[in-house]
């Protein structure tokens, strides 16, 4: 007969990493520290990218044309986190897929800075297709979190 007794044993992994960004991502991240959202452009297909890309994955050529955008974006999709998970933000929080300036692709960031009474009202406050603009952090270090969040423009 199989035993009806069983045990669980707990363990975890705390691991640290450091990643080299390379020149394209470095330039893009450093500009965030100066409250600028840059785009770069593939000179072959003409597509712009925010976040910048080191090379165009379609044309398979390096990218070296850069422009500064006005930072405004369009919400392409979003979700609202209503449940608490370990190591994830406290709910409610809105994760947006945001297409900035002339970019052909989007970036992921929070959408916040709009008034609401109850958490369940949030879906009515944000629409796909709405314009958003960045709200900058006081202290910046060349990181995506130099943008605190995007707010309705």
């Amino acid at each position: 007969m199989a035993s009806t007794e069983f045990m669980n044993k707990e363990y975890n992994m705390h691991l640290d990493f450091s990643v080299s960004l390379g020149p394209a991502y470095t330039k893009w991240m450093k500009a965030l520290g100066e409250k600028k959202i840059l785009a770069n452009k593939c000179s072959k297909c003409g597509r712009h990218f925010v976040p910048a890309k080191p090379f165009c994955e379609i044309c398979f050529e390096p990218i070296d044309e850069w422009i500064e955008t006005d930072g405004e974006g369009i919400v392409e999709s979003f979700t609202i986190g209503y449940a608490k998970f370990r190591n994830l933000p406290d709910p409610p929080y809105v994760i947006g897929v945001i297409r900035v300036g002339p970019s052909a692709v989007s970036m992921v960031h929070w959408i916040a800075g709009f008034p609401y009474d109850k958490p369940e009202d949030i879906p009515d406050k944000i629409q796909i297709g709405m314009k958003v603009k960045p709200v900058w952090a006081e202290e910046r270090k060349g990181d995506l979190l130099d943008i605190r969040y995007f707010e309705p423009a």
Binding site: E76, S77, A83, I95, I98, S106
Partner: protein, 385 residues
């Protein structure tokens, strides 16, 4: 394919929740594999190779295959480790198919690992699949990734919350009759709508559970299949597709790359009207919207018409294109086991062995898997009797 490839057996364990799980990972692997071997009366030393599929790092162990002894290690059986995120089960099946169709091996075991059966909080672990510098800090778990598709798709085609809940209820109803489903409560549309909102627009019952349980499948050459099995299921075609890693690069209103893959594979096997030419389908649907996105990408209906196809009853077990008669991933998600299971379910249907959930006399079926960060990969297999 150069040589014909058959599925000759499936080994399934019961599925439960992590909190109720009393079996060890090694025991789950042993049980599923033993059943697959016993079904065709062979021993572990008879297999030529084993393909292990999971997601590296999700099991609290970066190489789980190495610590289990269920894959013929005692008999020096080659062990091949395949990982393409959630679609790893499809990719593992594809690997087995290639090895046999190329004439390299005659008997290959595919094992779908219960990827999540150590996690304390699954969304915490799934968040580690997000691009670490660009996306992980914003708190994307798998539920949120599924919701990004749901939000955009609902907006694009004016799908209501009730209609989305109906998709979930369809799967919950089907799972009641599947002895290998984890959640068999048969939640109704009302119960889905009244379940807690986890990641808007998805309620708890529109999101897969975290399950524990495992599946094994045996693949064979034509000669071996005819020797060992009375009901072989033939692999007509199997293929996969890949695109970008970043969630921000996706558009979310459709499964664009699945559409390309489906067209490629239909052309290969000469399918012109998939809704008429397929008898049973298993879609990788951990989130309710995925089922509608897949109906459309797989060409069962026009874009935006998935909900009407469902409302007609076409995709029910007795409809003309039954989809997920098992209840799908939405009711049972044991990690990569779930993407192998899509193939196992279609194979059992074609063998006439889908106890409780059998579609009437299917001749040809399709198995789909989805995975990688927010759908970087899809796989499609066409199987027939």
């Amino acid at each position: 394919m150069k040589h014909r490839v058959a599925i000759i057996s499936v080994g399934n364990t019961e599925y439960t929740s992590l909190r109720r799980e009393t079996r060890s990972k090694a025991e789950l692997a042993f049980a599923a594999i033993k059943e697959a071997l016993d079904e065709v009366r062979i021993s572990i030393e008879d297999i030529d190779a084993c393909v292990f599929t999971s997601v590296d790092g999700f099991e609290g162990n970066v190489r789980p295959a190495r610590v289990l002894e269920s894959f013929g290690q005692a008999h020096n059986v080659p062990l091949i480790d395949v990982n393409t995120g959630g679609s790893a089960g499809g990719s593992g099946v594809k690997e087995a198919v290639h090895l046999i169709s190329a004439g390299i091996y005659e008997l290959v075991l595919v094992y779908g690992s219960p990827t999540f059966n150590e996690v304390v909080d699954n969304q915490q672990v799934l968040n580690t699949a997000s691009p670490p510098i660009f996306e992980k800090p914003f708190g994307l778990g798998a539920a949120h990734m599924g919701s990004l598709y749901g939000a955009r798709y609902m907006r694009e085609y004016n799908l209501t919350a009730r209609e989305l809940a109906q998709v979930a209820a369809k799967n919950h109803k089907a799972a009641v009759s599947n002895p290998f489903a984890h959640i068999r409560a048969g939640y109704t549309t009302e119960e889905v709508l009244n379940s807690p909102m986890v990641a808007w627009p998805l309620h708890l019952y529109e999101i897969c559970p975290v399950s524990s349980g495992a599946v094994a499948m045996l693949f064979a050459s034509e000669e071996k299949a005819k020797e060992l099995c009375d009901t072989p299921v033939w692999v007509e075609a199997m293929s996969s597709i890949a695109d970008t890693f970043l969630s921000g690069y996706k558009v979310y209103k459709d499964f664009e790359n699945l559409k390309i893959l489906a067209q490629r594979i239909y052309k290969e096997v000469g399918i012109k009207k998939p809704r008429e030419e397929l008898d049973v389908v298993e879609i990788f649907n951990p989130f309710a919207p995925f089922e509608l996105l897949a109906y459309e990408a797989l060409g069962f209906c026009e874009e935006g018409q998935g909900v009407n196809l469902m409302k007609e009853g076409a995709t029910e077990i007795d409809g003309d294109i039954p989809c997920n008669p098992s209840g799908g991933v939405l009711c049972t998600n044991s990690g990569i086991s779930a993407s192998v299971t899509r193939h196992a379910e279609v194979a059992l249907q074609l063998m006439g062995k889908a106890e409780g959930r059998q579609v009437k006399s299917p001749e040809r079926g399709l198995a789909h898997s989805w995975g990688g960060n927010d759908g970087q990969f899809h796989t499609v297999a066409i199987l027939s009797r």
